[in-house]
Each structure stands twice: as structure tokens, then as C-alpha cells.
Chain length 226, copies 2
DNA sequence: TTTATATTTTAGCTTTGTCTAAAAATTAAT
DNA sequence: ATTAATTTTTAGACAAAGCTAAAATATAAA
């Protein structure tokens, strides 16, 4: 049976959500997709029907192997297209998400393999997220949220968890982007906001909400990779 | 109001059909889109509603200016993507049609302008069809069908009118492709089939049906272009 | 110019994906 | 351990796009 665009959107969103929690909830998925819980329930039934996820009513759900495989392929397409848009078409890394959301649904397998080759088999997309290979292998990265980073420890921004354009705009305004090296100068327990220092720039303050969504790798873990 | 994927397909097909006949008929459109006449009628009402075409029931229809503009943009996207697939991703010119059918529906205007620039503003797609510019200007070409070409006059293949993969396969098998120079050696009035000679190859016979769909430019008209 | 044929449209149904409002189940709180 | 609050599901509607079968219109033929 065919996997429609909407089903692909659901699979991808479930995949991302279950990375963090094991089980995904109806409400979480609905809000991730900007849709209604009732609509999610409808879709869950179809995806279960198609044997793409494990689901029992009122009990939460998660992708099975089939579902994960499908989701990873969509993510692969999304990230390869983002790479293409930034590296070949000169888009900024904060402008490409919506376009890639459309391109990721183009179905041709051959297209994506050739695109991969054309791009030189990149390993990470412009936001630093790893690109699954054609076998669907997704290398896991040891990265942590900026809010978990210890004080005065330099780290490099390796990803942005929640890529709304508002968020990306805020980061850009503060000269924080992929690869930026930074450290936490001060933590304010009152609201968990952080004072951040980027080299050659005055310090800036980030809210807990933002910090939670900025992913970093500290130098050790970068070194480890080499 | 939004133009859905299906509406785009209809607009494009109507545009192509009305290039040949002035008015398009319900049946012709239905068979071009491999759908049913009743479905076409439904869609025509919606497109008329959206003021994209001129239509009165039982009387045929054609695109108005708005509709033409929309159709040309879709054709522009289709042809730019085809060019991309062939020139950058190394697809054969006979493999790209279906993929471009999907890619042409990606909506971002900015994407297509940057793609155009990335490709170096090509003027024709891999089948020799002209690519409309960003203003929607479509240069008209003086080309004729192979079946109208005079005997023993060398001409260059400039386009394929009906691009089914079966047709393209047949042509490829006979080493006829875009840019191939050929001439007609013999015409068989019995079934209007033609004996064709391509340089360095043994002569081959083409049916009238195929010949009708192979478009050529004779050397004069090529020269005229310079 | 009637009659026959072909084309087009209407009427009514189906599927997919979405929604709201109400009911059911689960979880939390007193 | 009940009651209260939250979450999830069901029931019922709707819009988009397509289909079949029947009716309406137009075109061709006798």
C-alpha cells in the first residue's frame, strides 16, 4: 500500500518524538504536526493497519522496524535536499527547512541516490544533523543540549532541535550558528536563563527555552570523532 | 485560493492541448490526464470558479491569461528540473520525465529562480523544448514534425512531442535522440512509414505514428536562429 | 429534418484527510 | 477511594478528487 505525503509527515514526526521519549503520545504528535488529536488518532489507525507502528488505544505508540525504516528514508531525503539547497543553491541554513519539507516527499529512489553522489556523500546536513546513508544507517552522535553544558566549558554548536524560523532568527541575531564555539558564563537559577559568550562578541542572554533546543558537542566528543 | 497539484496538472495539460487546437475538449483532456471525462468536468468548474479558464458547458474551453501564466510557470519548473536531472545528476534524457512530473509541483519561487541561476539559465530542456524565463516568456520555435520533412533534406531532431517512455525507448533503440541529424530516404505511401538515415548507422524504418511525434528543425531554421 | 451516435454533464457514491463536540478511559488530587 | 482533571477516542461532518451510470446536449447520418 502507498504511503501518502501525510503519512510520511506522521512517520517522520513520530520518529523524532520517540528519539526523546520512548513512547509517543497523541497530544505530542498533534502539536508537533499542528493538527488535532482526533486527526492523529485517525491516522494512527491507518498506520497500524499498514503495520508501520505499534499502537493500542489509550496506550501510546511507537514505530516498529518497518516504520522506522520508512521514517529514516524521509529524513535522509530531507537532509540531502537541505544540503543541496545550501551548498549548491546558496540558500542560508535558516531558509531551507520549509522547502526541504516539500522536497522530502519526492518519491524516486534513484533520484536521491544520485543526488547523494552529486553532493559527494555528505555526512551531515547544514544544521549539523547526520544524514542517514542509503542503507538507512544513521550514525548516532553524542551531543547534549546547551542547557546541560557545564559552566565555562567551551563547546561547538552541532544542531538545533526545534527549527522554527523564529528560533533560527533569534540565534542568527545573536551570531549563534552551526559550528559556533561558545561557553556558558553564568546560569540564572531564577528562570534558568544563561549568559553565553561567543568569541569576539559581547555576551548575550538566552532563555531556558532556547538553550534547551541548542545542541552542542564539547571538545572531547569532537576529538573522539577524529 | 490555492492551486492544488491536481489543478496544476490540469492547467498544464490544457495548455499543451490548446497549443495545437484552439479549444480543448473534455475527452481530449481526460485522456491526456488518464482520468475520466466526468472528473474533468468537475475540475473545469473549479478552475472556472478560480477564473483560470474560459468555459461554458458543452462548448469546450481554453485558459485565460491567468491560467496561461500559471501553466507556463509549471512548465518552466518541469523543464528546469529535467535539465538539472540530466546535466547534474547524469540521468538519461528519456528517464527524467516522471521525476520532473513530481518536482514541478514544488512551490517555492525562490527555489526555482536559484535553480535557474545554478544551471546557468538554460534555454532548452534535454528534449529540446524551450524553457520559459522567469517572466514566463516562452520563445516560440519554428519546428516541424518529421512526417512533414521533405525527402533527402538533413534536419536535426529538436524535440519529442509525445514523451511516453515506450516511445523514447524505441527512439533510443534506433539511435535517435535530441540533436541527432537525420534525413528521410524513402516515404512509403501505403502506411506513411519512413526510411530514415542517421549518419554512421544503417537505415531504419519509422512508423507514421512515431514520425508525427518527432520534431525537427531543418538547417535553415537552425541557421536563422544564429 | 428526423433519427442515431457521440460527447458532455449531472447525480450520487467512495476514499483520504481533516475538523468539532461529545463520550470514554486514564491519571491526578483531595 | 472517590472525585476531578486531563487525555484519547468515537461519532458525525466536510472538502477535495476521483469514479460509474444515467441524463442532457450536440453532432453526424440517413
Amino acid at each position: 500500500m502507498k504511503i501518502s505525503v501525510s503519512k510520511e509527515d506522521h512517520l517522520k514526526a513520530i520518529f523524532h518524538l520517540q528519539q526523546e521519549q520512548g513512547l509517543v503520545t497523541t497530544n505530542a504528535l498533534a502539536s508537533a504536526l499542528r493538527t488535532r488529536p482526533a486527526s492523529v488518532t485517525d491516522m494512527l489507525k491507518k498506520l497500524k493497519e499498514q503495520k508501520l507502528l505499534i499502537y493500542e488505544r489509550y496506550k501510546g505508540f511507537r514505530l516498529n522496524n518497518e516504520g522506522k525504516k520508512a521514517a529514516v528514508q524521509i529524513i535522509r531525503k530531507h537532509r540531502l535536499w537541505e544540503y543541496f539547497l545550501v551548498k549548491k543553491l546558496q540558500f542560508g541554513w535558516d531558509e531551507v527547512h520549509e522547502i526541504a519539507e516539500e522536497l522530502e516527499h519526492i518519491s524516486s529512489r534513484q533520484l536521491i541516490e544520485r543526488l547523494d553522489s552529486f553532493l559527494g556523500f555528505p555526512e551531515t546536513d547544514p544544521h549539523g544533523d547526520p544524514i542517514p546513508d542509503s542503507q538507512g544507517r544513521l550514525q548516532v552522535r553524542r551531543q547534549l543540549s546547551l542547557s546541560e553544558l557545564p559552566l565555562n566549558k567551551v563547546a561547538q554548536v552541532s544542531g538545533i532541535a526545534s527549527q522554527t524560523s523564529e528560533m533560527l532568527e533569534l540565534l542568527q541575531y545573536n551570531h549563534i550558528g552551526l559550528g559556533t564555539r561558545l561557553e556558558i558564563r553564568k546560569k540564572f537559577p531564577f528562570d534558568n536563563s544563561l549568559e553565553i559568550k561567543v568569541r569576539n562578541r559581547p555576551p548575550v542572554t538566552l532563555s531556558a527555552q532556547v538553550a534547551k533546543n541548542v545542541l552542542v558537542k564539547d571538545d572531547e566528543s569532537m576529538a573522539e570523532k577524529r
